[in-house]
Amino acid sequence: MDKFVCVRVVQANALDLALFQFDYDLTFAVFFMNADRTIYGRYGSRSDRKDATKDISIAGLGEALVAALDLHKHYPANKASLAGKQPRPARFKTPDEFPSLRGKYQAKLDYEGKVVQSCMHCHQVRDAERRFFRDDRKPIPDEVLYPFPMPDAIGLSIDSKTKAGVKGVAAGSAAYEAGIKAGDEIVTLDGQPILSIADMQWVLHNAGQPARLPAQVRRGRGRSTLELRLDKDWRRHCDIAWRATTWDLRRMAGGGLLLDEATAEERKLAKLPSDVLALRVNHVGEYGEHAVAKKAGFRKDDILVSVGGLTGRMTESELIGYLLRNNMPGDKIPVTVLRAGERVDLELPMQ
């Protein structure tokens, strides 16, 4: 660690969004950088609401630190290979430029006064970005709805104790079709040296729909370059249910409903085959704009079996995206729920 200048940041107030672009749902995110602001890599990933450490480890961070030092040693000769790691143009320079955050926070924390209340949290940046589109009655872009996809979105399971060691490949996935195998190490992705799962997420975050991504993999003593082919909908299958920022999406698209996939047992009891929609209401919001579904008649344990005419199986994350892409605030979506075995027709207001 003494080979680095270490900086700890605890606030998003006045965050330079033109430089620090990362998964704002994280509570732990790392940048490896040069003093000239060139980014060598990122570290910090999460895919579970309760378990914040599932996708990170001391060993993995250690490997990333060593790799970052190696990039620093060869800098600036390697500058061209780092081009893809650099930030993209930002819509707003700092979070307080977003309309929903404007004037609410000072640039510095108020240590002498209400220090807790003076702190802007990172997740508020993503919330504000989504509100920016929604409040302007514009579709929320897919990369804003489904940010920083985990490698499992393309079928890769990465060992978090390594930089980018492949633990498993899902049959039929883009990674499988590309020929990546368990035991491989992803050396570069889309030409970028990979230091961590977060680095892979950065590539995926900025990938198109569809996209072709070259991946250099190390297998044993050899290296080969494979090609990942992502279809136009690949991002829309990402799981965002764990994210803190999905709470506000549930307000917009679900009137405050928290939905879970019905279990196999629940499907059996309700006589619902495995390929049809069956999302069980786990929680109904009680207050303000999160109580809109409650006021519309939805109850805990209702099972949604038809939403706007859709009856095919989908996850809560997919349904949220579908509703936000196709509806605007003020629309009312016809929904059929199963309640104690009876079908009940309701209307779900969009916000």
């Binding site: 700890r8 605890v10 330079d16 509570t27 490896f32 040069n34 602001r37 910090g44 620093h72």
Partner: protein
Amino acid sequence: MNAPIAILIASLFLAATALNAAEDRRERVLNDRKEVANAGQWIYNDLAEGFAEAGRTGKPLLVVFRCVP
């Protein structure tokens, strides 16, 4: 106990709990700054100083975004 008194007591209890939680968090935020500063190796919440130090020393930067738990 009649309903209004029960509601009042419940409200006061909840308010006190919330106040304690807020105080706890305030303490944690203030202590965090103290502890990290005392540890010596970290620059706390000052990116400009971090970039300047990296420029002076030629070392790379490790920037950690971490909420106070």
